[in-house]
Symmetry: C2
């Protein structure tokens, strides 16, 4: 039905996120969530929060969180921006930094929100194909452009680049802004944060949703030269001055301040990942070495969609993308050891 | 200093919010915050929150909150959208509903964020002058346009329109979307929510920051025909699928479910407002009848800026706008009775 005001409405297609099944029996390996709870310090911060303080606006700059992030990385607080989840931070960064008639460059296989923001913000873009093994070659990004965005490790492929490669990418693009999306970097051994002191055209985004188990709290940050952080603040202030609430700010600060717990969880997930990678390969899966908290797996005989449907019937949810080049792959989040044992045993039954 | 990537950066001017003084001695009447804490149910919801749940993404549609709002108003849950504060909801609505070459219309004296979003989203707009007494005349909006946005009551003028006038406005604009921004409507006796069943081109936005004392929690909603709510969801999903965290969702639901506490606080603030209005008039101020939780006041002899500076020295912060037509007015938030007594007594001293 067309309505008299139809011509005033926006023309966009909504994003489809991973399913959020409601039953507690489901083994949920489809949204790259952390199987472990956040640091006990987060519970303390929330339980002890005085609701009376909520009558006032939160700090506009989320200062306690920015301070905790700056301390964690040993950088200045003016190099840190904080926002309402990675999508909020990335969308602000796209708006702030990709204003050019030249195309934004990113890999053809990558986070599915990049083209969505480009459409929304009318940013011209070109995708750069990854090779057959899904590897990104930074030389392919050494050409005139309106900006570069690259997740490291890349998603959903799980493959990470070393610091040297990232430095080459940033160095060869001094006329544009390069965003390195480190949503999963805590599960690798590489973070580009040290490079921001050397390159004023580098922006790093990170989320607390994965490695810090705060998906439900919407906490993320960008790290860059203070000059660029100023632009992110200006964009934020032009859209919504207070994207982060008072509880999220304190919960995020509590999470990043507990280094010991973070290291424990991170290492546990990496250990499970390494074990499951070997098991999947034994079952006939091709699995790139993962630098993330998930695996990208394709079977030598059975189509990914069939495996996806079978697992679903067994109450195990993984992610399947009906998209060119990757429609024979499954994205499998690393859960607890027990959950992964159930996955492996279900796959064994299916594959006979 | 110009940097090699300067041409890629956005060109915008940041918004200036009211000051957020840090000293606890300050009487803060400059941000229209509520002087009373939120419902005790909010404290319970926060203190009892299980942080373990935060490892998962929050419900994308903030369902528990939408449900509570729908129940409060006796409308369908599919008529409710929820977001990260009024600014988030309004910005999404501007994006969803104001896509036209014809100008968006709003009063020349109104919420200062409207032109900011128009610039950001490249929406053409025209302002419609209010009369000398700051009254909005809805007939002035009976002409071709790309949309209408009107706060009711208007800010910072505090003047509200009746339901009949709003209905006329909506009825004469069936070819566009009319947004009624009810940020302060809980302090009047008028809400347009009942009109949404009759008019599919009406969108009402509300915030929990003022009447429900949740400025620090970032909670707001839009209420409209389900068809329009679908567009708001699509815009949200194209930008940030999870703008509201799990704690905000529950805190907001707790706040709106406690009707009794809400009525108490609302009535207390209205009673203080009525008393202070009389006192200010006795001191020589012109004060329009307020339908909000603040007053708009101009003195017959002393310039607003002088009074503003004097009050500031006394540790009383009010808001002064250096803007055409209103630069001899102060915007004064209604605080506790005790705070307002201190304000009146400071004004008495100043005016001799």
């Amino acid at each position: 039905m067309t309505r008299p005001f139809q011509d005033k409405l926006i023309n966009i297609e909504p994003y489809t996120a991973g399913e959020q099944p409601k039953s507690a029996d489901i083994i949920k390996l489809n949204a790259n969530e952390n199987p472990y709870p956040p640091s006990p310090e987060v519970q303390k911060a929330i339980s002890g929060f005085d609701a009376g303080a909520l009558r006032l606006y939160p700090p506009m700059d989320a200062a306690p969180l920015r301070k905790a992030i700056a301390e964690y990385y040993g950088i200045g607080q003016d190099s840190v921006f904080a926002g309402n989840g990675s999508d909020d931070v990335l969308a602000a960064a796209f708006r702030a930094f990709f204003n050019s008639d030249k195309p934004l460059l990113y890999p053809d296989i990558t986070y599915s929100f990049y083209p969505v923001w480009c459409e929304l913000l009318k940013i011209p873009y070109e995708t750069v194909p990854v090779d057959e093994g899904f590897n990104v070659h930074v030389e392919d990004f050494f050409r005139e452009n309106g900006g570069v965005v690259l997740p490291n490790p890349n998603a959903p492929t799980t493959i990470g680049l070393g610091l040297d490669a990232i430095e080459e990418l940033v160095k060869h693009n001094r006329n544009s802004i390069v965003i390195i999306d480190e949503a999963y970097a805590d599960f690798s051994e590489v973070s580009c944060v040290p490079l921001i002191k050397k390159y004023d055209n580098l922006v790093i985004t990170q989320t607390f949703s994965k490695s810090r188990s705060l998906a439900g709290m919407r906490v993320a940050c960008a790290i860059a030269d203070p000059y660029l952080i100023g632009y992110l603040d200006a964009v934020k202030d032009s859209y919504n001055s207070y994207p982060m609430d008072a509880v999220s700010i304190l919960a995020g600060a509590a999470a990043i301040s507990d280094r010991e717990y973070f290291e424990q969880v991170r290492k546990k997930i990496i250990a499970t990942r390494e074990r499951v990678t070997v098991q999947l390969r034994e079952l006939g899966f091709t699995v790139p070495d993962s630098s993330a908290n998930f695996l990208f797996a394709s079977h030598c005989e059975r189509p990914a969609e069939e495996i996806f449907s079978y697992l679903r019937e067994q109450g195990i949810y993984v992610r399947f993308f009906r998209k060119p080049r990757i429609d024979n792959y499954l994205r499998i989040t690393i859960g607890t050891d027990q959950q992964m044992d159930k996955l492996i045993s279900a796959l064994r039954s299916f594959l006979g």
